[in-house]
């Protein structure tokens, strides 16, 4: 298969709630475990013999069913995903794991538990700061989850299963890291919307299938030296973002997204789990200590330092920080991104958006103006 054929496969995988790979897995007797947040280790599902499936809302058109139970100040991501669940389109899952990522996700858990047919439910209480003294709390939560899954699914999740799972997930992460490294090139062989499509596919399909496709794709991309035209390179930051079409809107204005500092982006694949030592401890450490997201208290300095490093490594011209409206946890980080950008001169555009909103006219105007501004400033700089 060539590059565009593999990308088409990944596009098919991400466009519907139930993709053909998961369907095939289920028809072979396999189970699927859904989860909501990048702080829930997907390796645990794999160790339980399941396919981990990150909950998202492809093809959702409205939130009418979810709105019966969720108030209008719940973000549209949660409302769309709950709506799909209430429509029964996530009934192929054997279980769902939620956590206290935010209050809105907690409300989602309650609806999943009481109003869907998904038989297994679990809730993780994750500390809101990555202090060493709290690692044991997080690990205990994982142990409780494992115990509950063992009991419900009549499986054993021992060190051996966890170790095998780590190897599989590390291979997927290695593929995504290699893919992302290609985006450092002056002419990346893949656009931001395409790269995000690949990353999302890794969240919702069996990783064995994903790795096979990703390796063929990487071989094709490695030798692709075609020049790519763009006016400015961007890093996109924020929390939830699983709509490749949103990045395409930015790229249609002349931008090129070279990195996604988001939950469905780099937060998923950066940093491997060491394959030596007690596997559960290593899993817990990887998820607990990696570059923090906005929900973690006092996380902004480390997050921003990471963004600044990425800006350099990926030769980015600007930062686009986005959040879905009503996302309280990301509101503070977006304000801080604006404030830091003002003080250090990093071109920064902040976008509030709705999940799956379409009607991107105002986003186009903002992004185009942002590109024009970056170009004007670089021209002025060259004149000086």
């Amino acid at each position: 298969m060539n590059k565009s054929e593999i990308l088409n496969v990944f596009q098919d995988v991400v466009k519907e709630p139930l993709n053909s790979y998961v369907e095939q897995w289920i028809s072979g007797g396999g189970k699927v475990g859904g989860y909501y947040c990048s702080l829930i280790p997907a390796e645990i599902f794999t160790a339980a013999g399941m396919v981990p499936y990150r909950i998202r809302g492809p093809r959702s058109e409205d939130t009418a069913l979810a709105d019966v139970y969720l108030s209008s100040n719940v973000c549209t991501f949660v409302r769309h995903t709950v709506n799909i669940a209430l429509q029964g389109e996530f009934d192929f899952m054997s279980g769902i794991v939620c956590m206290n990522g935010c209050d809105q996700a907690r409300r989602a858990y309650e609806v999943w538990k009481q109003k869907t047919k998904v038989p297994f439910h679990a809730f993780l209480s994750v500390p809101r700061t990555s202090e060493e003294r709290l690692l044991s709390w997080y690990k205990e939560e994982l142990e409780k989850l494992i115990e509950a899954m063992e009991k419900h699914f009549s499986v054993k999740i021992r060190s051996q299963e966890l170790h095998e799972a780590i190897k599989l997930h590390n291979a997927a992460r290695a593929n995504l890291i290699r893919l992302n490294d290609l985006r450092k090139r002056p002419s990346p062989p893949i656009s931001g919307s395409e790269a995000l499509t690949v990353t999302i596919a890794a969240h919702v399909m069996p990783l064995k299938n994903f790795n096979e496709l990703a390796e063929v794709l990487l071989a094709a991309l490695n030798s692709d030296q075609a020049p790519r035209k763009y006016r400015a390179r961007f890093i996109v930051s924020g929390g939830e973002l699983d709509e490749p079409e949103f990045l395409k809107v930015m790229e249609d204005q002349g931008g090129l997204v070279v990195y996604e500092d988001t939950c469905f982006g780099a937060r998923f694949y950066e940093e491997q789990v060491p394959e030596e030592g007690d596997p559960l401890t290593k899993i817990a450490e990887r998820y607990f200590y990696r570059v923090p997201c906005a929900r973690m208290v006092n996380s902004f300095p480390a997050r921003y330092a990471n963004v600044e490093q990425i800006m350099t490594d990926f030769h980015a011209d600007g930062l686009i920080a986005q959040r879905i409206k009503q996302c309280i946890v990301n509101a503070g980080h977006l304000y801080n991104f604006t404030r830091r950008g003002r003080s250090n001169g990093m071109p920064t555009l902040v976008l509030d958006r709705e999940y799956l909103a379409g009607g991107y006219g105002q986003v186009k105007t903002r992004v185009q103006a942002f590109i024009e501004n970056i170009e004007s400033k670089s021209k002025k700089g060259a004149e000086l």
Binding site: A357, T365, R366, K380
Partner: protein, 285 residues
């Protein structure tokens, strides 16, 4: 042909109205304003043709055209399209070099833009997908009261306190207006309340980018003295007036035409210096 005779054009396809400006030698020769339609391509041709006719210029004489506004991608005869944020900044800076803050209130969008002394955009803020704080909001309200916008402007300056009207949502505000009408609140009070509601929303955006003098208001709503006066009172400032009675509604199209003029000059100098050109640069780090 010397630069002074160069003809450039800016075409601004907005949500309610479309505008075209023709520059000859960098100076305004003519402009046209017309209603937008369901076909932005046709609207662009129409408003462009009106401006050309008004200046007595043939289409072939125009050397560079820039499209802007919501329908900017549909100005098919344009050499390029530029966002309305850059165009309003350019247009305002072209007319008033001392301006540092621009507030453009159009039919669908409100934008606050801060620029430096070179006219470079430093920051901008835009309203979200919401009609509150836009010209469309006032159109809705005028329709609810069976008035024209010009009547509302006139009544704004009659006696009366502004009625309390929500600034959160156009649909709710409309029902509030109907309620006030049924309570026989005088129309001037309702109108002042509506203008206050719009001005409050606009002031939030301006404060986001910072209120730095001089400030100028552009867009169709800048012609509504009731809103302008209310906004000035809220911000405790005075907007500068555009020189030479330039219509504030054409500033986006003017900026587009000025960008076209500058591009055209730069293209010409590049052609003249072709022998010294380094050629197209490959992206390198």
């Amino acid at each position: 042909m010397p630069n002074q005779e160069k003809v450039t054009a800016g075409v601004d396809i907005g949500s309610s109205t479309s505008k075209a400006v023709i520059l000859v030698g960098g100076k305004i020769a003519s402009y046209a304003i017309g209603p937008s339609s369901v076909s932005p391509t046709k609207t662009a041709h129409l408003v462009f043709q009106q401006a050309l006719s008004s200046a007595g210029i043939h289409r072939e004489q125009v050397t560079y055209t820039v499209g802007t506004g919501y329908g900017r991608a549909k100005v098919e005869f344009a050499d390029e399209n530029v966002s309305e944020i850059s165009c309003h900044a350019k247009g305002a800076h072209h007319l008033l070099a001392e301006v540092r803050t621009i507030v453009d209130v159009g039919g669908q969008d409100t934008k606050a833009i801060s620029i430096n002394k070179s006219g470079l955009v430093m920051e901008f803020a835009m309203n979200d997908k919401c009609a509150a704080g836009t010209g469309r909001f006032l159109d809705f309200m005028a329709r609810s009261m069976g008035l024209e916008i010009k009547d509302m402007v006139q009544m704004h300056f009659q006696d009366g306190y502004p009625a309390m009207i929500s600034s959160m949502c156009s649909v709710f505000a409309e029902s509030e207006v109907i309620n006030l009408i049924n309570e026989e609140v005088p129309l001037p009070s309702i109108i002042k309340g509506l203008h206050k509601s719009v001005a409050n929303r606009i002031s939030t955006l301006i404060r986001r980018v910072g209120v730095e003098n001089e400030i100028v208001m552009t867009g169709g709503v800048a012609k509504n003295n009731g809103v302008v006066e209310t906004l000035e009172n809220i911000l405790k400032c005075r907007f500068v007036t555009l020189p030479g009675n330039v219509d504030p509604q054409i500033i986006g199209a003017l900026g587009a035409a000025v960008i076209g003029f500058e591009k055209d000059q730069s293209l010409q100098s590049r052609t003249e210096n072709a022998g010294n050109n380094r050629g197209t640069q490959q992206a390198q780090f």
